[in-house]
């Protein structure tokens, strides 16, 4: 029966960052209409929660899919160091020409964590506030949260 089961490990991380939603392809008026308060030229910030899900075989010797120490340091290095207490627009090169919506943030974080060596990245879920969250599973057919 165990062979028919899939086990995933989920881990939550937090970072605080500012952003401004603004597209150079839209006029001032359009930016204001589309992005509303989020278009404020001085930006604003959020306490983001990033949920990382990985899957794989549970190693019988350790009981683990992946050692949390490895996952924590990988996420710290690949994402948190560059994102925490930063301006996403100004400090993260990927958002120089891409609007730092939480949709795009999910995709960027997925790209940065995809190469985690000891387990398969299933999906990224980013909570921008307690009331909204976004998920991205790349090409994983089973990655989308049910």
């Amino acid at each position: 029966m165990t062979g028919a089961l899939k086990i995933e490990l989920g881990r939550r991380y937090r970072f605080s960052a500012s952003h401004r939603l603004h597209s150079p392809h839209l006029s001032e008026e359009e930016n204001c209409r589309v992005f509303g308060k989020c278009n404020n030229p001085y930006g604003h910030g959020h306490n983001y929660v990033v949920e990382v899900s990985v899957s794989g075989e549970v190693d019988p010797a350790t009981g683990m899919i992946a050692n949390l120490t490895d996952l924590d340091s990988f996420v710290e290095r690949q994402v948190l160091e560059e994102f925490d207490h930063k301006s996403l627009n100004e400090d993260v090169p990927a958002f120089r020409d891409k609007v730092p919506t939480t949709e795009n943030l999910c995709i960027e974080i997925f790209k940065r964590l995809k190469s985690f060596p000891t387990a398969k990245l299933e999906r990224i879920r980013v909570q921008e506030t307690g009331n909204n969250s976004f998920e991205y599973a790349g090409d994983n057919r089973e990655g989308n949260q049910s």
Binding site: M1, T2, G3, A4, L5, K6, I7, E8, L9, G10, R11, R12, Y13, S53, V58, P60, A61, T62, G63, M64, I65, N67, L68, T69, R141, E142, G143, N144, Q145, S146
Partner: protein, 143 residues
């Protein structure tokens, strides 16, 4: 198909130690979790059952019945217990979130006869959890 989820909480102690590893390896691999006196968590378990609502009762399964199953199979077995020493199903296994979630699936799956067990999610803390589900369940639900 409708998914129904019930949440319960239990408190238990555990430690991570593999007798085949040296003391140094145990400390390196398991870190703080290798403390020989153990430590504990407030676990949160979310059990999700899938099924079609019964046309007469409107229920996938009677929540009271699910509550009784969880009380009998999980609470009585794990609440205020030491997972290494008192839960027979975990004997010889490291009681990680992954392994406990799998054991919980195996305990609950045959007991849920109305609807079908869809997912077990076990939180060891708000920031760490394991999901157990049938291989392919997510793909199937997408189609």
């Amino acid at each position: 198909m409708v998914l129904l989820t019930r949440k319960i909480e239990f408190a238990a102690s555990h430690l991570y130690h593999n007798p085949n590893f040296s003391a140094e390896e145990n400390r390196r691999i398991f870190g703080k979790c290798n403390n020989p006196h153990g430590h504990g968590h407030n676990y949160t378990l979310e059990v999700t059952v899938e099924g079609e609502p019964d046309p007469v009762t409107g229920m996938v399964l009677d929540l009271k019945e699910l509550k009784d199953i969880l009380e009998r199979e999980i609470m009585q077995r794990m609440d205020h217990r030491h997972l290494n020493y008192e839960v027979a199903e975990l004997a010889g296994q490291i009681p990680t979130c992954e392994n406990i979630a799998r054991i919980i699936w195996q305990l609950l799956e045959p007991k849920i006869t109305q609807g079908r067990l869809h997912r077990v999610r076990l939180y060891e803390s708000p920031d760490l959890f394991a999901d157990c589900y049938r291989n392919g369940a997510r793909a199937a639900r997408k189609s």
